[in-house]
């Protein structure tokens, strides 16, 4: 295999963008809750539940249409799945929010509990719907790359650049969200309020900002974004839900969040690093350079190295992890 061949580079870059997308969604989501002062290691669970909800919803919605005509393709069905993933993500995040904000539970313990829930609960739902405990039925309506929406640009999408740009709309959404979240967080009054309750909730409270409300918003937003990441995994990258399919992405996203210094552009860089590492691993997996288990451990080791060494002295939001008492 030639490392510098165009085909390899195209596959690497396109793969990196695909691997970055769920991490980017999740890390941006995590940014909102951490900026508001709540640690959310339940991101992993939110991805899992989002993925489950998306796959199950698409399957249930498409079933009657497919029963009438097996070849029918309806454009809006995958987006209902995305919506379901958002709802599932918000519900999951809401549980975390209630337990940690209202009942002042230890945020790490609560997150762990919700993660455990996301390992067990899907099996029960899957057994109820599909008579097995590990995977959902495969769906027909996946989110397709943009080339399928733009048939008149067929020639362009055959070129190397076109093959890199021929990604799912969700990939574009993830990257567009970077400046959007930057604007929301740093250029709007709402963003200032969100950051202030994460830095000094007492001061924010004394200025009439509702600390609890802002924290709820931060956590629920992480539910929205990580939920979309889940939908991306189950009805975009592949076409079904597989038990524990987040595979640590929630935690890697947290590392990227810290590495990216809780800033949208920093997060973009950090998740791109992880995305490229993962894509590179996938590309050389077949070459027999190293045993695949060693390669599979690569992103996790990278995460630890990032957390240990390269962070510099990033300063987390000052009030992070502490329940607010009025």
């Amino acid at each position: 295999m030639d490392i510098l061949s165009t085909a390899f580079l195209v596959a690497l870059i396109a793969g990196a963008l695909r691997q970055t997308t769920p991490l980017l969604f999740t890390a941006l989501g995590g940014m909102f809750n951490e900026r508001s002062g709540v640690v959310n290691i339940a991101l992993e669970a939110i991805i899992n539940f989002g993925a489950l909800a998306a796959a199950v919803t698409v399957q249930l919605v498409e079933a009657p249409y497919l029963a009438q005509d097996p070849n029918v393709r309806i454009w809006w069905i995958p987006w209902v799945g995305v919506l379901a993933a958002i709802v599932a993500g918000v519900i999951t995040a809401w549980i975390h929010a209630v337990v940690t904000i209202r009942y002042r539970a230890d945020q790490i313990v609560s997150g762990t509990a919700i993660n455990m829930l996301s390992f067990g609960l899907p099996s029960i739902v899957l057994l109820f719907l599909y008579q097995n405990t590990t995977a959902s039925q495969e769906v027909v309506h996946r989110i397709l790359p943009i080339s399928s929406y733009l048939p008149f640009l067929q020639d362009f999408f055959a070129t190397p650049l076109g093959r890199i740009l021929d990604q799912s709309p969700l990939v574009y959404l993830a990257f567009v969200l970077v400046p959007v979240t930057y604007f929301a967080l740093f250029k709007t009054p709402w963003g200032l309020r969100l950051r202030s309750v994460g830095e000094h909730p007492e001061a924010a409270d004394s200025l009439g900002i509702n600390v609890f409300l802002m924290r709820y918003q931060g956590v629920l937003l992480s539910g929205v974004l990580a939920g979309i990441a889940g939908a991306y995994l189950s009805i975009d990258q592949i076409n079904q839900f597989i038990r524990m399919m987040a595979a640590g992405r929630g935690f890697i996203a947290l590392a990227a969040l810290i590495f990216g210094k809780w800033h949208p552009f920093g997060i973009l860089g950090a998740t791109l690093l992880f995305g490229f590492a993962e894509a590179f691993r996938i590309q050389i997996e077949g070459a027999g350079v190293l045993p695949s288990p060693i390669l599979q451990a690569f992103p996790y080791v990278l995460t630890m190295l990032v957390l240990a060494g390269f962070i510099g002295r990033a300063r987390p939001p000052a009030a992070i992890g502490k329940p607010y008492e009025k």
Binding site: S110, A113, F119, L127, V289, P293, Q296, T303
Partner: protein, 617 residues
């Protein structure tokens, strides 16, 4: 406590009791049951059963309504001692009524069965009969009245807060069971439903489904093989629970128990395969190897935290994935290519199944039944060696050598245990019969190692200087540092010991043959490392608590197997219950804050007892 709470609870009790099945007179495999509720017989499967008349028992419902009413009135309108006496009386009446109903039921069943057999039936018609939700509720309500009464007597008002270490986990368990019950209600149909039910029948049958689910889950408590199997499942949970609890005590959250367990298994495997020598050397060495593997894996995140301030939660999780990769590398293939060079692994069993070769005879931990002197199924003798050793250990520690310093005290007790073991081995055994189902349970000596680990945890944490320092770091790191505790060193030490405890769980799986073979298999259920979190929280990080919580989850997981077989509910329900328990305990069982915050609890108790302080003055 708000005044309306008691009448509300009583009302809820009465309503639930009205629509609950009180007795199940016959249950088929798969959960189809014939249910007796206070307002009639509910028979969803149209099973044929003989005439069954319980006489006065259904009317007892109205007695219970009266009881609940009186209890509410007594609570609302009586004061002080009279109120306590009335509640005690009502609670006692309730218990009596409960016992009478249960007795009447079992007698009637025996009579019906005897009559049928006399009439020529080949088998008794009523099988797998049992009490059901209605009766459980009655028992619980009677106990509730007792507790309420106790709370009215002097010094009783703070009762629940004083025992919050038990109350919070218990309430969380109860809440988790309610949520789990709702899940089952929503997801499963009524078993064996043949004909449409009335609304009342539907409610009763659904509640029976939920009740039966939990009867199955707690079922292993009732049989000896079930208890053995539960102890088998509980063994690794004790280790991982201790591991997590150890971290918690020092203010660290060890989510890395799964990875530490895997590395313990890796080390134990190598020791078991390649260490030569006699058993009395190899076996301890192999056990130590398991601990060492876990300790190394735990120490790394500890060091990363101490040196770089990297958060241990994410790092331990990452270490889990890396350990998983190590396991895959070692077990999934015999040959790997490193940069084009092929490397052959000699320890992997040939064939597709990912597992190691069998470890040597010398490194195997004997089965628990063998330790007790039995040779397998069939008649045998219960050797007195182990029971006597255990007895003398306890007696020595708590009675004979109570006056000694801790070190000599422990040593003397251990010596007494050794003597007991030797003497017990010489005494003639007690003849006993071992059933095939009991002999098939692979409970092994690792269970004893687990119990020793509990003792170690207790001594180390509460009786040594190191433990004291660790707890100080956990409670107030800054204060501890000011007092001269080396925080960085303690972080590494804590994580290493926590890792060693998790690594010891591998002794059960690899050295003890916990999964049927004396090998390191890829199917090793490393997820028990996550269960350890639930065990530690449920046990409130105390040695006894962790042991009991591990036992509870051992029972539930064992019962989960039946759940799958009989009701088609995924065993994962137990995992869901576990996760909910962790969540609810984290939220303090949704109880007022003086149940979770020690300072607020002290304040609350102080406010309750101003009179007593005056007496002291």
């Amino acid at each position: 406590m708000s005044r309306a709470l008691i009448p509300l609870a009583s009302l809820l009790f009465a309503l639930l009791a009205a629509v609950s099945p009180w007795f199940v007179i016959k249950r088929a495999f798969g959960g189809k049951g014939v249910l007796l509720a206070p307002f009639g017989l509910v028979n969803p499967g149209a099973t044929r059963v003989p005439e069954f008349d319980l006489g006065w028992v259904p009317l007892a419902f109205w007695v219970w309504v009266g009881l609940a009413l009186f209890a509410s009135l007594a609570y609302l309108f009586l004061k002080g001692r009279t109120r306590a006496r009335a509640l005690y009386l009502l609670g006692g009446l309730g218990l009596l009524l409960f016992a009478l109903e249960a007795y009447a039921f079992y007698r009637q069943v025996a009579e019906v069965n005897a009559a049928a057999l006399e009439a020529g039936a080949r088998r008794p018609p009523l099988k797998r009969y049992s009490l059901s939700l209605g009766l459980y509720l009655q028992f619980a309500y009677a106990l509730f009245l007792f507790v309420l009464a106790r709370m009215q007597t002097p010094g009783g008002a703070g009762l629940l807060v004083r025992y919050r270490g038990v109350v919070v986990p218990a309430v969380s368990l109860l809440l988790a069971m309610v949520v789990g019950g709702v899940l089952v209600w929503l997801l499963r149909p009524i078993p064996g439903l043949r004909e449409p039910l009335s609304t009342y029948g539907y409610l009763v049958a659904k509640l029976d489904l939920v009740t039966y689910t939990f009867q199955l889950l707690f079922g292993p408590l009732l049989t000896l093989p079930g208890l053995f199997q539960s102890a088998l499942i509980a063994t690794p949970l004790i280790f991982t629970g201790l591991s997590v609890a150890f971290g918690f005590k020092a203010g660290l959250f060890n989510i890395g128990a799964p990875g530490q367990l895997i590395m313990g298994a890796v080390f134990a495997m190598f020791a078991g395969l390649y260490l030569p020598g006699p058993k009395f050397l190899v076996l301890p060495a192999a056990i130590a190897a398991a601990a060492l593997g876990g300790a190394l894996w735990g120490a790394i995140p500890g060091w990363l935290k101490a040196r770089f301030g990297a958060h241990e939660v994410i790092n331990t999780i990452m270490m889990n994935y890396v350990a998983l990769s190590v396991m895959l590398l070692l077990l999934s293939k015999n040959e790997w290519s490193f940069f084009g060079r092929t490397v052959h692994f000699p320890f992997k069993a040939p064939g597709y199944e990912p597992k190691s070769l069998e470890i040597s005879e010398a490194a195997r931990i004997p089965l628990f039944l063998n330790l007790l002197g039995f040779k397998g199924a069939g008649p045998g003798e219960l050797s007195l060696a182990l029971p006597l050793a255990f007895l003398l250990l306890l007696l020595g520690y708590y009675l004979f050598f109570k006056k000694l310093e801790l070190g000599p005290r422990v040593l003397a007790s251990l010596a007494a245990a050794m003597a007991g073991y030797l003497v017990g081995g010489l005494l003639p055994g007690i003849p006993a019969q071992v059933g095939a189902d009991l002999a098939s349970v692979r409970l092994n000596g690792a269970f004893l190692i687990a119990l020793f680990s509990v003792a170690f945890y207790n001594f180390f944490m509460w009786r040594t200087k190191y433990g004291y320092e660790l707890r100080a770091v956990g409670l107030a790191p800054k204060a501890a540092e000011y007092a001269g505790v080396k925080i960085a060193q303690k972080l590494v030490l804590t994580m290493a010991i926590a890792g060693a405890l998790a690594g010891l769980a591998a002794t059960h799986y690899v050295l003890g043959g916990g999964i049927d073979e004396y090998r390191f298999k890829q199917s090793i259920p490393y997820n028990v490392g996550f269960d350890g979190i639930a065990v530690a929280l449920m046990g409130q990080n105390t040695p006894i608590g962790v042991t009991l919580a591990a036992g509870l989850f051992g029972v539930l997981l064992t019962g989960g197997l039946q759940l799958n077989l009989q009701l088609g509910i995924s065993r994962e329900l137990v995992l869901v219950l576990e996760a909910l328990i962790v969540l609810f305990i984290a939220a303090g069982g949704f109880l007022p804050r003086y149940f979770t915050d020690p300072l607020l609890a002290a304040e609350f108790l102080k406010r309750l007892a101003p009179t007593r302080e005056k007496e002291v003055d």
